[in-house]
Symmetry: C2
Amino acid sequence: MNTTKAPQHQFAQNMKTVARLAGVSHATVSRVINGTGLVLPATAERVRKAIEQLGFIPNPSGTTLRYGRSKVFGLILPDLTNPFYPEFLLNFERALVATEHEVMLATTQVSSPELARSVRRMLMRRVDGVVLMASEFDTRSIEPLLSHRVPIVTIDRRITQKGAADVAIDFETGYLQAAIHLKKLGHRRIGFIGGSEGLVTSKVRLKAFQTALEDVGLNYDEKLTRMGDYRVTGGRSAMQSLLALRKRPTAVMTVNDLTAFGALRALHDAKISVPDEISIVGCDGSLLGEVFPPGLTSIAVSFEEMSRKCLGALHSVKANIESKGPLLVVPSTLVIRGSTGPA
Amino acid sequence: MNTTKAPQHQFAQNMKTVARLAGVSHATVSRVINGTGLVLPATAERVRKAIEQLGFIPNPSGTTLRYGRSKVFGLILPDLTNPFYPEFLLNFERALVATEHEVMLATTQVSSPELARSVRRMLMRRVDGVVLMASEFDTRSIEPLLSHRVPIVTIDRRITQKGAADVAIDFETGYLQAAIHLKKLGHRRIGFIGGSEGLVTSKVRLKAFQTALEDVGLNYDEKLTRMGDYRVTGGRSAMQSLLALRKRPTAVMTVNDLTAFGALRALHDAKISVPDEISIVGCDGSLLGEVFPPGLTSIAVSFEEMSRKCLGALHSVKANIESKGPLLVVPSTLVIRGSTGPA
DNA sequence: ATGAAAGCGCTAACAA
DNA sequence: TTGTTAGCGCTTTCAT
C-alpha cells in the first residue's frame, strides 16, 4: 500500500494518460513521439490526436534520469561583453533549438578556478557535450569532462585529443585579403595590434598577419606592432603608443573588433580622421562594427557556420569517444566598411 | 528478476554509493547535501568525506522528475545583438549560479509565434520561473505558463496579474537627471528619439522625457521628436531627419543606447562634432557606450539590481501564486561621459 | 505491431 | 537522529 502522498505537481499528464486516451500502452506513445520503432499509421494518428487533445508536454527528465542523456549542450564563454560571444551564442542556440536541444550557458574566465565549477555544473546537468570557447585553459579543469566521456569542442586551440575536437578559425585567408585590400589602397607601412602576450590565438593571428604581409610583398616591421588584451583598453593604449611614433603606420590591423574599437576611440580622441589619415582593420565581423564610426572593415567569420561545425564536431566525437576528435576549420573573409581608405 | 540490462552510464555514483561508504542510508546523504533535517555533526562529516572521496556529483534530474522542480529559470530575450541583453544575461546568470541554479535561455522576437515555442520548451524542462524581457507580447503565449503555475516576471510592462510580477525601470528620475544636466550646460532646445510607435515602453520613456523637461522649466517641442525602433537604424535615420530641421536641437535624448549609437553615427557621417555642436544622451548604460566615440552619456540601470529584483519577484510570486505579483521598480541614474557638453 | 516491466536518483513522509 | 520506502516519467528489452 502507498503510504506517501503524491506530490503537488502542475503536470497531470504523462505518457500513460495519453496512452489511456488513445487506447494503447505508454510504450507506443513513446514510439510515436520519438518516431522510432514500428507503429501502425492508424495507431500513430490516434496517439497524436490524444496528445493534442490533452495538451501533453513530455518530460525529458525521465530520460535524463534513466539514460543519462539530456539533449543539453554546455557552452562556456569567457566574456559576454565582447559582442563576438553573444553573436555566436545567438547562432548556437538557434542551431540547437532546431533539433529540440537546449544550451546551458556558463560565463567564466577560463583561466580561473571558476572554470572547474562550470564544468561541475554541466556534469550535474548531464550535458551531452560541451563547447569551450577558449584556446588556453588549465587542462585539469576539463579532465572531469573527459573522464565522464562528455564530448568536448574547443575553439581555435588547434589541438585535438581523445574525446575532444577543435574548431579552428582560418585567419590566414582573412588577413591575406586584408593585406591585399590595403596594398591596393596604397598602404606600405601597416601596423598590428595583437592580443595578450603569450596566448596561442594571439600568436596565430600575429603570424597570419606577418605571412599576409610577406605574401603581398610588404615588409613586416616589428616596431609597428603592439600587444593588446583582446579588449577595448588594450586597443586604445596600443593605438596611442603607435601614434607616438615618429613614422606612424598608415594602416593598422588588429586582433579583434574590440581592439579595433579601442583603436578607433584613441584616434577619435587624437582628432585623427579615419580613414583619411589612417586605416583600421578589425577581426570578428561583429554587427556593431557596422555602426561604430566610420564603420569597421573587419575579418569576419560566419557564426552560423561556426555553430554548425561545433555541433558536427560534437557529434563525431560522441560517435567515436575513444579516439582523437577532428580538427575542423572555419574560413574568414574580409568585410569592407568605412575604416579603410587610400593611404 | 531483472530482465533489462543496466544502461551504460558514465556516472557510477549515486547517493546510495556514498551512503554505503559512509555507513549511513542514502536519505542521510540527501539531508547532508541539502543541509535540511537533523544530522549528527559526526555523521555529516563522514558523509562529506565519502562524497569527496568518490567525487560524487549529484543528479538533479531525480528531483525534477519526482517533484517537478528543476532549479532552472527561463529567460526570454528579444535580441542578443542589443548589448543591453547580454549584459543583463551576464548578471542574471551570475546571480543564479550563486544559488546553484541555471538559466535556460530563449532568444525570441516576442511578437512572433516563436514565443509560444520557447514557452513550451521551458515547460518541458520544468523551469521554476520565467523572466520575460518584454513589455509587449501576445498574452496567449504566456497562458500555458500561468496555467501550469509557473511564476512569471515581465520587464517594464507596468502591469501585474495573478502569477506574474513586473520589474519596471524608473526612467523618470534618469531622464530628469539628464534634463538637469543638459539645462545646466545651457541647452534649451532638446530633442528626443523614441522607440517603436505604439509600444508601451516607448510611450513611458517619451512621457518621462516630457515630464523631465517640464520639471526643469523647458518646453517640450513635438517638432524635435522622432520615432525610432530601439535599433541602430532607427536612431540613425531619426537623427538625419532632425538634422534636416532649420532650427536643430542642441541636444537629443534617446530611448536606448543602440538608438544613440545610430544617432552618433549619423552625426559622424554629417561631420557634426559631438559634443561641440550637439549633445547626445543614451539610455541603458551599456558598457560599449564608454568606448563609442566620444563616450556616451547615458541613463543607466544597474543590471545587478535588476537581476536581484527579478529573482526576488519570482520568489514572491511562487510563494503566493494565487495572487497578483508585486510591481517592483529599479532606479536609473545618469552616467556622464563625453557626448554631452555646453550648448 | 504492441504491451509489460524494469529501473535511472532523488526527496519527503513516516517509522523507529 | 537515522532508516525505510515509494514513486516521479521515460525508453528499451523482451515477450507476444
